[in-house]
């Protein structure tokens, strides 16, 4: 008598047990093995691209904060680069360096959340998550000092940044730079060599080099699969060509490598911030642009290396005060297209881990 089994559909609904936002997955399971997966998203669609057409160029900057709400500075940065490219506005030196410092601090903060929630999904009952939030608190305090808010900073403007750094920023940043490497070492000691984590995450959810390149993955997901592609080196923007940093890459592209990749990138970001702090010149932080900018008709695409990958803004202008079309290239959505190949054949518990290691923010996927 042959045993007949039937695959059943499990709905991991929009209210997710993990901390990744409103994302729905319909997984077809055969016993405990995942056979197929169908992502359903759109639960957080707010129409940002359409709203951008109704607000001025400066008024869209608060909207871009809310795209990838964990790393607002990077979104502002990309948008301002796009508008400056479109309108041909030059940014003063001091503003460029301040933007780089903010972007790299934001990268550390966002990667901390990625690592902390990945370990939380693995089952370490909130301990690495809370340690991560404690370190992120230090960075967010610095951002609060500069811009006044803790999550949606709205700090960068077309032509520079909104205000200069206050006097107490640099001493606080020095203290932070002294504390952070020891925290990264402590984090390594906590879970990097843990046998249970290695058994859970090594070899799980492998994304090969060819698969990663074919599915337009970018960011830590791509570099963990062995491709050394970083927009800061390949297509430098702002003043990144003046800094000396490495691009880490791992070999196999499994969940453990993605976790290691993110920790290594945090270390490289610390190097960049150190150099930017030393090279910071005095001067103005904002070129004079009118409140209602009217760039000449044309189109521009600007991309940056945001903590999740390549974030791009494509702006089309028709010489009016608002963009004619604003399209956003979200890294989380494009990294997610490889999810199905990564997950098939693994169990439900691995599905959660693999999904957590890609590190998405639903605000970016749905816009």
């Amino acid at each position: 008598m042959a045993l007949r089994t039937e695959p059943f559909v499990l709905n991991m609904g929009p209210v997710h047990p993990s901390t990744h936002g409103v994302f729905r997955m319909r997984a077809t399971l055969d016993g405990e093995v995942v056979v197929d997966i169908e992502p359903v998203f759109g639960y957080l669609h707010r129409g940002i691209e359409k709203l951008a057409e109704q607000r001025t160029y400066t008024g869209t900057i608060p909207l871009t904060d809310r795209l990838d709400y964990i790393s607002s500075m990077s979104n502002n940065f990309a948008y301002c680069l796009a508008v400056e490219k479109l309108a041909g506005i030059k940014v003063p030196e001091r503003a460029e360096y301040i933007r780089v410092i903010m972007a790299e601090l934001q990268r550390i903060a966002s990667l901390l959340i990625a690592v902390g929630s990945f370990l939380n999904d693995c089952g370490a009952y909130f301990t690495p998550f809370l340690y991560m939030f404690r370190e992120r608190e230090r960075i967010v305090d610095l951002f609060e000092m500069v811009s006044g808010q803790r999550l949606t900073y709205n700090y960068m403007r077309v032509g520079g940044v909104s205000q200069d750094l206050p006097k107490e920023f640099m001493p606080a940043l020095h203290k932070f730079m002294n504390l952070m490497p020891r925290f990264l070492d402590e984090y390594d000691r906590l879970l990097m060599q843990n046998e249970i984590l290695i058994a859970r995450a090594k070899g799980v959810g492998i994304l090969t080099r060819e698969q990663a390149i074919n599915s337009s993955a970018s960011g830590p997901v791509l570099r963990a699969s062995g491709v050394k592609w970083d927009i800061r080196k390949a297509d430098p923007y702002s003043v990144y060509d003046r800094f000396d940093f490495d691009i880490p890459a791992q070999e196999s592209g499994d969940c453990y490598d993605r976790y290691r990749q993110r920790v290594e990138e945090m270390r490289q970001s610390l190097r960049i911030i150190q150099q930017a702090m030393e090279q910071l010149p005095p001067g103005p932080v904002r070129t004079e642009v009118p409140h209602l900018i009217r760039p000449p008709a044309g189109e521009a695409y600007a991309r940056i290396e945001c903590p999740k990958g390549e974030l791009g803004f494509y702006l089309v202008s028709d010489n009016s005060i608002a963009p004619y079309r604003c399209h956003i290239r979200p890294p989380s959505l494009l990294n997610l297209t490889a999810l199905r190949d990564m997950v098939r054949g693994w169990k439900v518990a691995d599905l959660i881990i693999i999904f957590g290691s890609i590190d998405i923010t639903v605000g970016e996927i749905d816009r």
Binding site: R55, T56, T58, G59, T60, I61, P62, L63, T127, R134, E137, R138, D141, L142, E144, M145, V146, S147, G148, Q149, T152, N154, S162, Q163, D164, P166, E168, A172, K175, F176, L179, R182, E186, R189, L190, L191, M192, Q193, N194, E195, I196, L197, I198, H291
Partner: protein
């Protein structure tokens, strides 16, 4: 990196956790201990300087949400606009600060208070009288460094609690 299988990774992790037991927790007990918020705090309410305001409406035009409503009338004696109604719907405001930055006469500021919860949504609308500067509704230093210098320094986690190694 060599992976040892016999439990040394687990033991290392256990030492990290047990050391945290002896450290001061990074916790602030809210109603009894309050931290100083940023001097450039982009608060929930706005503060309006009635003398400097001329009713030009730049703030209302710059606001991306359209949360500011201004109604003016002309006053021939003073030769300037009289602002009859200046209303900000703080429920609709996203605290971006573009209005504060764009005022040409420096008549609009953010308030430095953050505990302004209301019971009803209708009470969130700030009228003209609710926007004047009072000792409870201090002015925050967002975009105005001279006002920021008068406020107390922000408590920072990097200074407040340093773990003893």
């Amino acid at each position: 990196m060599k992976f040892e299988r016999y439990g040394i990774g687990i033991a290392k992790g256990l030492t990290v956790t047990i050391r945290h037991l002896l450290r001061h927790p990074t916790v602030n007990q809210y109603p009894e201990q309050r931290l100083n918020i940023s001097r450039r705090f982009r608060g929930n309410e706005l503060v309006w300087n009635q003398e400097k305001c001329t009713g030009c409406g730049t703030c209302a035009k710059t606001c991306p949400q359209g949360a500011i409503e201004i109604v003016t009338s002309t006053d021939m004696t003073e030769n300037k606009y009289v602002v009859e109604k200046y209303e900000v719907d703080t429920g609709y405001c996203i605290n971006c600060g573009l209005c504060v930055e764009s005022c040409p006469y420096e008549a609009l500021y953010f308030s430095h208070a953050f505990e302004c919860a209301r019971y009803r949504r209708g009470e969130l609308v700030q009228g003209k009288e609710d926007m004047l500067e009072t000792p409870e509704r201090k002015v925050s230093g967002y975009f105005y460094p001279d006002k920021a210098a008068k406020l107390p320094k922000q408590t920072l986690l990097v200074e407040k609690i340093t773990e003893k190694r």
